[in-house]
């Protein structure tokens, strides 16, 4: 195992450097991802891939529906799982030249922003681009599943469908629809794009995002909006009826329905996105990781993960069988009578840092 390069700086005490080297070597030895296996450059070589994702039921679903079937087909390939998929860790590993992760869940904009520097450019074998939507296959990430954000309202607040919210304009219209709004301030889910389209921008005109205009739209409902710290917190707000309408991830809407919340999705315009799976730059097991990527992009694996963890397949040929509640909020199925707009990860990769700073400033104003 290689050891971490110490920074080439003059230190008053050599002891410090020695101590750091000892400590680092100890940590690395304890992590041990290599355990005698090869790099898997050859298809039949024994290889152990370190797979890093968000943990919880999501990663359990990936283990059961992707990793275990793959190992059954290719007994020479085994997996070690870890979480969370912290991008700062990827950067630290790449900078230090000690890449221990082989497959890592990554926001598509992040993979796009750091393509070729922190993440490997991919050549995944046996993938038919015709089976995927436009812009979904990234240069440095594969879409390991798709998801969407759904605008839904509480039917107890607006029981009559005739007078209930019907378009995303209504989300921003507190005069006609007074009440609390809930949303997670996650730029990668397209919340600025939502605001622009509610403001009258055509769906094919949202990029480049007019940030001041989008923030002005959010400003107009600032006092009625609860910014949840994360999706779990938003789900709690929804099920305890502390918000009357919300923009929330599809899978959590199903959880809300399952918990008995009377939420009704509004099928107007919906932002869709994908979760990315990427390979940190310099992973010695790139070839083996790419063969696994090819496997999970197949319609069957996409169907399995969608049914298991309530996401949507990224492969258009895949048709999951959802539960009744799952079908009700499925943006990618027949229930959706509106329009879907994909988040442009490449554009976000180029503009993330500046907009993120502007957004944080606005949010904390």
């Amino acid at each position: 195992m290689s050891h971490r390069a110490l920074p080439r700086r003059r230190l008053p005490l050599r002891l410090l450097a020695a101590a750091a080297a000892l400590a680092t070597a100890g940590t690395l030895a304890a992590c041990g991802g290599d355990s005698g296996a090869g790099t898997g450059a050859d298809e039949n070589e024994k290889v152990e891939l370190t797979y890093v994702s968000y943990g919880g039921t999501g990663q359990d679903g990936m283990i059961k529906n992707w990793q275990q079937p793959y190992t059954a087909l290719h007994p020479n390939v085994t997996f070690v799982n870890a979480s969370p998929p912290d991008a700062a860790q990827v950067k630290a590993q790449v900078q230090a030249g000690v890449v221990q992760w082989d497959l890592v869940s990554t926001a598509p904009w992040l993979a796009s922003q750091n393509c070729g520097t922190l993440y490997e450019k991919l050549t995944v074998p046996d993938v038919d681009p015709a089976q995927f939507g436009p812009g979904v296959l990234g240069e440095c990430h594969i879409p390991d599943f798709a998801y969407s954000l759904v605008f839904a309202y509480n039917a107890e607040k607006w029981p009559d469908p005739a007078t209930a919210p019907k378009s995303i304009k209504d989300f921003f219209d507190t005069a006609r629809f007074p009440g609390k709004r809930g949303v997670v301030p996650a730029l990668q889910d397209g919340i600025l794009e939502w605001a622009l389209m509610a403001d009258g921008v055509a769906p094919d005109q949202v990029y480049p995002v007019d940030v001041p205009r989008a923030l002005a739209k959010w400003e107009s409902i600032r006092s009625s909006t609860t910014w949840a710290a994360n999706v779990g917190a938003l789900l709690q707000l929804v099920t305890s009826k502390q918000v009357d309408m919300q923009i929330m991830v599809q899978a959590r809407n199903q959880a809300a329905l399952d918990a008995g919340a009377k939420i009704v999705p509004v099928w107007d315009i919906t932002m869709t996105s994908v979760d990315g799976l990427a390979i940190p730059k310099g992973s010695p097991k790139k070839a083996a990781a790419e063969r696994f990527m090819s496997f999970i992009l197949k319609p069957e694996q996409q169907q399995k993960i969608s049914e298991a963890i309530g996401v949507a397949p990224s492969n258009l040929l895949s048709k999951p069988n959802y539960t009744e509640n799952g079908a009700k909020i499925n943006t990618f199925g027949p229930a959706n009578t509106g329009k879907s707009v994909p988040v442009d990860a490449v554009w976000w990769g180029k503009n993330w840092n500046q907009i993120s700073a502007d957004f944080t400033k606005w949010l904390n104003a």
Binding site: L16, A19, A87, A88, K91, G116, S240, K281, S356, L363
Partner: protein, 298 residues
């Protein structure tokens, strides 16, 4: 005692701190130095040639980005409130601990140490459940006509939870300090005609100031760096500085900017500690407080 050692050789006693010094040097000193180094150098992108140049750009950005100073001020305010709340709750508690019997004292110690023995996550999720709208705390406040106070997702809720979590850091040094005060001094004051409150204010309080300063320094500095509690209970709209640091590190991968912010927080904290040290008494009372040493009146 007849063996002589060369003058340049340190006393053997110093060898005792070598293991701790090595560990701290490797796991704290080195990373701290690296963070600082990054914060004063230009960023060379991964895989690209070039040498980092000295720069203060990352620090300039902190003062001009329009959000860092605001969040720093908010963090300082929250930490100050937590410190005062902890002092108001902790002082009488610590005083009581010095006045009761051994058995009652152990019960009080266990009670105050409880948060230490609970997992940080369990503690914070516990507060989460209590602070939700319609939760126990809000319903309790409702009895006094304060039912519409929103605690979850606000700075008020975060302050409440942090005060509980940090209370032991106030109580323990205070207890050591108060326990070392010679109560016969109070008797002397009373016998010379001083009313109880005046005796407390003129004799007891000045003697306890070292412990008060130690507790306040500990609570304030820890509160400044709190991450889990504001991240879970607070709102992204009211970020504290640790959340800003987290965002800069894990989302923007801006190690240099995060290093600059971290250094700034460290410097501000050290300056405040030095100031509190001058105002409140000796820094040594943190250590002396824990050791429970008796001090004489100054």
């Amino acid at each position: 005692m007849t063996t002589s050692r060369p003058r340049w050789l340190p006393r053997p006693g110093w060898l005792l701190i070598v293991p701790a010094a090595l560990l701290l040097g490797g796991t704290l000193g080195m990373p701290l130095w690296q963070s600082f180094w990054r914060s004063v150098h230009t960023v060379v992108p991964v895989g690209e040639p070039g040498t980092a140049q000295l720069t203060l750009e990352h620090y300039r950005a902190l003062f001009t980005d329009g959000v860092t100073l605001r969040v720093l001020a908010r963090t300082g305010k929250a930490a100050a409130i937590v410190t005062v709340v902890a002092l108001l709750l902790g002082y009488p508690y610590a005083y009581l601990m010095t006045r009761v019997g051994a058995r009652a004292r152990s019960v009080l110690v266990v009670l105050v140490l409880m948060p230490f023995w609970t997992s940080a996550l369990a503690r914070n999720f516990g507060w989460l459940v209590l602070l939700y709208d319609g939760g126990l705390v809000q319903r309790f406040l409702g009895l006094f006509g304060l039912g519409d106070v929103v605690l979850y997702g606000t700075a008020t809720g975060v302050t409440l939870a942090m005060s509980q979590v940090l209370l032991p850091y106030m109580v323990l040094p205070l207890y050591s300090s108060l326990g070392g005060i010679d109560r016969r001094l109070l008797l002397a004051a009373r016998s010379l005609g001083s009313p109880p409150l005046v005796a407390f204010w003129k004799v007891y309080w000045p003697l306890s100031r070292g412990g008060v300063a130690a507790g306040m320094i500990l609570v304030f500095t820890l509160a400044c760096g709190f991450y889990v509690t504001p991240a879970l209970i607070g709102s992204p709209r009211e970020s504290l500085v640790a959340q800003l640091l987290g965002q800069r590190t894990t989302q923007l991968l801006d190690f240099a900017g995060a290093g600059a912010l971290g250094t700034l927080v460290l410097v501000v904290t050290l300056v405040l500690v030095a100031w509190a040290n001058r105002v409140g008494g000796s820094m040594a009372t943190i250590g002396a407080g824990f050791a429970g040493q008796t001090r004489s009146a100054r």
